[in-house]
C-alpha cells in the first residue's frame, strides 16, 4: 500500500473524531509546549548569566585578603591587611607570562554632592589598568592617567547612574563634585553596564585612582587594598597562574611553610561554573517534568489508538480480506498515531514559542529559542507516536481476518 494512501486514511480517521483527536493530542501539545517554554527560558537565563560573567572581566582572577589569626583570634574574611598594591605590581611584573595586567580595588562609601544634588554611592579606587582588566571603558571623556595615579590627584570617572542623579541631562565632564566634602574633578563617564546577576546596579559607582581613595577618602597611611583584579591572557592558564600567584604572594608575605594563606584566590570560571550548574540543574528538573507530561500524553495516545483499533475491527477485517498484509495494517495505525503526536507536537511548538515570548515580555526575562530545541522536541513527539502507537498497531496487525469480520 502506498504511503499517500496510508496518510490519507489516517487523516480521515483522525478527522472523523475531531474532538477525540484534539483531546488526545492535548497531552502532547501541553508536554511539548512546556518543554519549549522551559528550555527557552532556561537557555535565555544561562546565556545572559554567562555573558554577564564575561562582562565582569577579561579572564579575571580576584585576590582577596583572607582572615587573620592573631593569637588564636581570627578575623573574618578580608581581615588581613597584608594585600597591597605593590603585590599587584609584583604579580604583573613577575608573572607577566600569564598576566596581562592587574588593578587593585580600594573601596570607600560616601555622599556625593554636585550643586543642589546629592547621592550616596560607592567609590572604587583602582589603577589605570582597570578598564582593560574589567573590559570596561569610558563612553565619554577620558580615564585618569599614570601621572594622576602616582600623584593621587583628585580626579574621578563616574558611572552612568551617578551621572544621571547628579547631572541629569547636563554634561558632567570637567565639573567638580564633592565626595565626602573633598572636591574631585570628573574626567569621564563609564559605559553603561546595567545590573549584574545579583540585581546590583553596576553603574552606581565612582572610580578614582586607588592612591587618592586610600589617602583622601580612607585617610589611611597603610597601603593595603580590598582586592586585586588580575587579568590573564588566556582562560586556559587560570589554574597555573593561580599556583604561581599563590607562591609569589606567600613569598612576599613571608608565610612559613605551615602558615595558612593570608589571601584567597577566586576566578571567574569558578563563579560561572556555579551559576551554570544551578541553571542547568533547573533546566534538567523542568525538562524532566515536561518529559513526564509527554509520557502521560503518549499513554493517552496509546489508549485512544486501542479504542480506535477496537472500533474499526470490522474495517481491519475487510482490509485484510481484500489483501491488506499485517504490515499494511501495522503501518496504518502507526501512521495514525504518529500523525496525532506530530500534529500535537507542532501545535505544542507554536504554543511553547508563544508562551516563552509572552513570559519573557511580561517578566522581562531573556528568552533564547534555539532551532535545536524545536527540532528535538518535534522529533521527540514523533517518537512518542511511534513508541505508544506500536502496541495498538501491532495488536491490530495480529488479528485474524475472519475474527474481525465476525466482530460485532
Amino acid at each position: 500500500m502506498n504511503f499517500f494512501m496510508i496518510l490519507k486514511v489516517a487523516m480521515r480517521a483522525i478527522w472523523r473524531n475531531k474532538t477525540r483527536s484534539l483531546l488526545t493530542a492535548l497531552g502532547i501539545i501541553v508536554g511539548i509546549a512546556a518543554v519549549i517554554a522551559v528550555v527557552s527560558i532556561g537557555q535565555g537565563a544561562s546565556t545572559m548569566m554567562v555573558s554577564q560573567i564575561n562582562s565582569m572581566g577579561n579572564n579575571m582572577i580576584m585576590i582577596f585578603p583572607a582572615s587573620r589569626n592573631t593569637g588564636g583570634v581570627r578575623t573574618g574574611s578580608g581581615g588581613a591587611q597584608t594585600l597591597t598594591a605593590e603585590d599587584g605590581q609584583a604579580i604583573a611584573e613577575d608573572i607577566s607570562y600569564f598576566v596581562r595586567c592587574v588593578s587593585p580595588i580600594v573601596r570607600a562609601n560616601g555622599q556625593v554632592i554636585y550643586q543642589e544634588n546629592n547621592w550616596a554611592t560607592q567609590v572604587q579606587g583602582v589603577s589605570v589598568d582597570f578598564p582593560e582588566v574589567r573590559n570596561w571603558n569610558v563612553s565619554k571623556g577620558v580615564f585618569f592617567d599614570k601621572d594622576e595615579q602616582r600623584q593621587g590627584s583628585r580626579v574621578c570617572v563616574i558611572g552612568q547612574t551617578v551621572s544621571d542623579n547628579l547631572f541629569g541631562e547636563n554634561d558632567p565632564i570637567g565639573k567638580v563634585i564633592r565626595i565626602k566634602n573633598m572636591p574631585f574633578k570628573v574626567l569621564g563617564v563609564m559605559e553603561k553596564k546595567g545590573s549584574n546577576n545579583f540585581g546590583q546596579d553596576q553603574d552606581d559607582l565612582i572610580i578614582a585612582p586607588y592612591t587618592t581613595v586610600k589617602r583622601v577618602l580612607q585617610n589611611s597611611i597603610f597601603n593595603n587594598v580590598n582586592m586585586l583584579n588580575v587579568s590573564l591572557y588566556s582562560l586556559d592558564d587560570t589554574e597555573a597562574a593561580k599556583k604561581d600567584i599563590s607562591a609569589l604572594l606567600r613569598q612576599r608575605h613571608k608565610l612559613g611553610r605551615n602558615a595558612d594563606d593570608d589571601f584567597d584566590l577566586r576566578d571567574m570560571a569558578e563563579i560561572s561554573k556555579t551559576i551554570g550548574s544551578v541553571s542547568s540543574l533547573m533546566t534538567i528538573l523542568l525538562t524532566t517534568v515536561a518529559a513526564i507530561s509527554l509520557v502521560v500524553g503518549g499513554i493517552g495516545i496509546m489508549n485512544i489508538m486501542l479504542v480506535s483499533v477496537t472500533e474499526r475491527t470490522r474495517e481491519i477485517g475487510l482490509r485484510m480480506a481484500i489483501g491488506a498484509t499485517p504490515l499494511d495494517i501495522l503501518l496504518q495505525f502507526i501512521t495514525e498515531s504518529i500523525l496525532l503526536s506530530t500534529v500535537g507536537g507542532l501545535i505544542g511548538v507554536i504554543f511553547g514559542v508563544a508562551g516563552a515570548k509572552i513570559v519573557g515580555d511580561v517578566q522581562h526575562w531573556p528568552i533564547l529559542i534555539t532551532p535545536s530545541s524545536i527540532i528535538v522536541s518535534f522529533l521527540f513527539s514523533a517518537m512518542v507516536g511511534v513508541f505508544f502507537g506500536f502496541y495498538p498497531a501491532f495488536r491490530a496487525s495480529r488479528l485474524h481476518p475472519i475474527d474481525c469480520l465476525r466482530y460485532e
Binding site: 500500500m1 502506498n2 494512501m5 472523523r16 470490522r314 474495517e315 477485517g317 475487510l318 482490509r319 485484510m320 480480506a321 481484500i322 489483501g323 491488506a324 498484509t325 499485517p326 504490515l327 499494511d328 485474524h400 481476518p401 475472519i402 469480520l405
Partner: protein
C-alpha cells in the same frame, strides 16, 4: 482443477471439549464452475467457505488453489493470495462507510503489488458501470440501497481481476427483487468465465448455481465432485 481440498479438518477446542466445524472434507471445484454450498446453520458451510477463501486456516488437511499449496502459508502470503486471486462478497456488504462507491471499489488495488495506479480510476469506473451503477459512483454506502451496495461490493471483488469469487450469503440481507438482480449478475459473471463459490441456505438462490454442495455436521453429503450427464462414472 482450480480448487482441490483433501481431508480438511477445522476443530475448536474449548476447555477439554473439541468440536469439529469441518470433519474431513474433500472436494474439488473446476475453472468456470458456479457452486452453491448449502446446509443448515452450524453445518460448517461458512467455515468451509472461509477456508476456501483463505480467510481462515484449517486445523489439518491440504488445500491446492490454482495448483499452489495454500495450507501452511504465512499471513502475509495469504493476504497476497486474497488480493490477487480471490474476490469476496459478504452478506453485510462490508463497504467503508462515508466513502464513495468509487473509492470503495478502488480499495483492493492499494494493497496490490502489481496493479498499475494509473489504471485504478478507469477500471473502478468501468466496473461500476458494468454492475449498473455508472451514475452513482460518488455516492456513499449510506446513499445507496442494499442491492446497490451489494453491487458496489461485487465491483470491488472484481477489481483485481480474480479468477474466483467467494460469496457468503450474498442475498441474505436483500429483498427478493434485489436478490434476483444480484443472482443474475452472478450468472452473467460466471458466463464470462469467473468461477463463483457461494454459500446460501435458500433453495431458490442455490438454483442459480450449476452445482450444489450440501454440508451437514462438518461433512459433505452431496456434490463433492462435478457431476454431469456425460460423465458415466459419476452416475454409478
Amino acid at each position: 482443477m482450480l480448487i482441490e481440498v483433501k481431508n480438511l479438518v477445522k476443530s475448536y477446542t474449548v476447555g477439554d471439549m473439541t468440536t469439529y466445524a469441518l470433519d474431513g472434507v474433500s472436494l474439488s471445484i473446476d475453472n468456470g464452475e458456479f457452486v452453491a454450498i448449502m446446509g443448515a446453520s452450524g453445518s460448517g458451510k461458512s467455515t468451509l467457505l472461509n477456508i476456501l477463501g483463505c480467510l481462515d486456516v484449517p486445523t489439518s488437511g491440504n488445500y491446492l488453489l490454482d495448483g499452489v499449496e495454500v495450507s501452511g502459508m504465512t499471513a502475509t502470503q495469504l493476504a497476497h493470495i486474497r488480493n490477487e486471486k480471490l474476490g469476496f462478497v459478504f452478506q453485510n456488504f462490508n463497504l467503508l462507510p462515508r466513502t464513495s462507491a468509487l473509492e470503495n471499489v478502488e480499495l483492493p488495488t492499494f494493497y496490490s503489488r502489481t496493479f498499475p495506479a494509473s489504471k485504478r480510476r478507469e477500471r473502478a469506473t468501468e466496473l461500476l458501470e458494468r454492475v449498473g451503477l455508472g451514475t452513482r459512483i460518488m455516492n456513499t454506502p449510506g446513499q445507496l440501497s442494499g442491492g446497490q451496495q451489494q453491487r458496489v461490493a461485487i465491483a470491488r471483488a472484481l477489481m483485481c481481476n480474480p479468477p474466483v469469487l467467494f460469496a457468503d450469503e450474498p442475498t441474505g440481507n436483500l429483498d427478493t427483487r434485489s436478490s434476483v438482480e444480484i443472482m443474475k449478475l452472478f450468472t452473467q459473471l460466471n458466463n464470462e468465465g469467473i468461477t463463483i463459490v457461494m454459500v446460501t441456505h435458500e433453495d431458490d438462490i442455490a438454483h442459480y448455481a450449476k452445482r450444489n454442495i450440501v454440508v451437514r455436521d462438518g461433512k459433505i453429503i452431496k456434490g463433492a465432485k462435478f457431476e454431469s450427464a456425460d460423465d458415466p462414472e459419476a452416475h454409478t
